[in-house]
């Protein structure tokens, strides 16, 4: 993701993030609660900014609004994936007993199978995707996750600098420091 796409995504992300951050400033929240709120704001903002070009944003938004994705939400995908599996199994069932298969190949394939399954769990909405779509979604998701990290880092650095910048200046002027609790870690 480079150039104008990256920039517009990051800007869209920031805009959405700022809007939902406002709800995180509730003073009654514990640190853990606020952290969870910030995290889910960031995820929601990432999904919103990504829009409709992939499946994971929908899944991410669905899970953060705590309504579990039902099979009716993705009618297209679920039957296809299931159908592919069944058809494949039946047509190659007879060939399973071929003695030619070497154990290293079997191990490799088992590994790929196992790791594909893990990847499904890591990509939002991955469970409902077929293998090829999963690979594409994973790529898209990774790219946007990286952008999310970059933006969050910039925001927290900027906030940190602002917090740090205010206090010393205030102290020098002899006024009561507003942020003088030394919280500039």
């Amino acid at each position: 993701m480079r150039g104008p796409t990256a920039k517009s995504f990051k800007q869209g992300f920031l805009r959405s993030f700022l809007v939902s951050l406002k709800s995180c400033r509730n003073g009654d929240m514990s640190l853990q609660e606020r952290k969870r709120a910030v995290r889910s704001s960031a995820d929601a903002a990432m999904a919103t900014a990504r829009g409709g070009g992939a499946m994971w944003p929908q899944a991410l938004l669905a899970s953060s609004s705590s309504s579990p994705p039902t099979s009716s939400s993705w009618p297209r995908l679920l039957p296809t994936a299931a159908k592919v599996k069944t058809t494949r199994c039946k047509s190659t069932a007879r060939r399973c007993c071929r003695p030619k298969r070497s154990s290293s190949e079997m191990i490799a394939r088992r590994l790929v199978r196992k790791r594909t399954k893990i990847l499904r769990g890591m990509v939002p909405g991955g469970e409902l995707l077929d293998g090829v779509s999963l690979l594409r979604e994973a790529m898209d998701y990774v790219v946007h996750l990286r952008a999310q990290v970059a933006v969050l880092r910039r925001v927290s650095n900027a906030m940190h600098h602002m917090a740090g910048a205010v206090a010393p200046r205030v102290q020098l002027k002899g006024e009561t420091a507003q942020l003088s609790d030394g919280n500039q870690g």
């Binding site: 952290k35 190949e105 609790d181």
Partner: protein
Amino acid sequence: MGCGCQMIEETSQHHDTAESDTDCEMSSRRSRSRQSGSSRITDEQISDLVSKLQDLLPEARLRGNDRVPSSRVLQETCSYIRSLHREVDDLSERLSELLATSDMSTAQAAVIRSLLM
């Protein structure tokens, strides 16, 4: 069990050597096993996707960019996503601490500043 067809699931040409450590060259198998499946996904497409995925991963995770088995790429992808999630979590924690001590106008100013950077 055993039919081993669930690996990446799509390829109708999916036969013994797809994604294996030992042999990523699938041209010999491809012509032999081409079935009239509804999906036209080839082994080549899959291995192209896998190598694109590999290119996304940070250099340190894969020694160089030569042929790395798909199982390894998948593993490193999962591990990378996990670490990105952790980073987002840590940054969220940091942000929530900063939010506790600053007011919203500081946060807004910081965000706007980030926009301009």
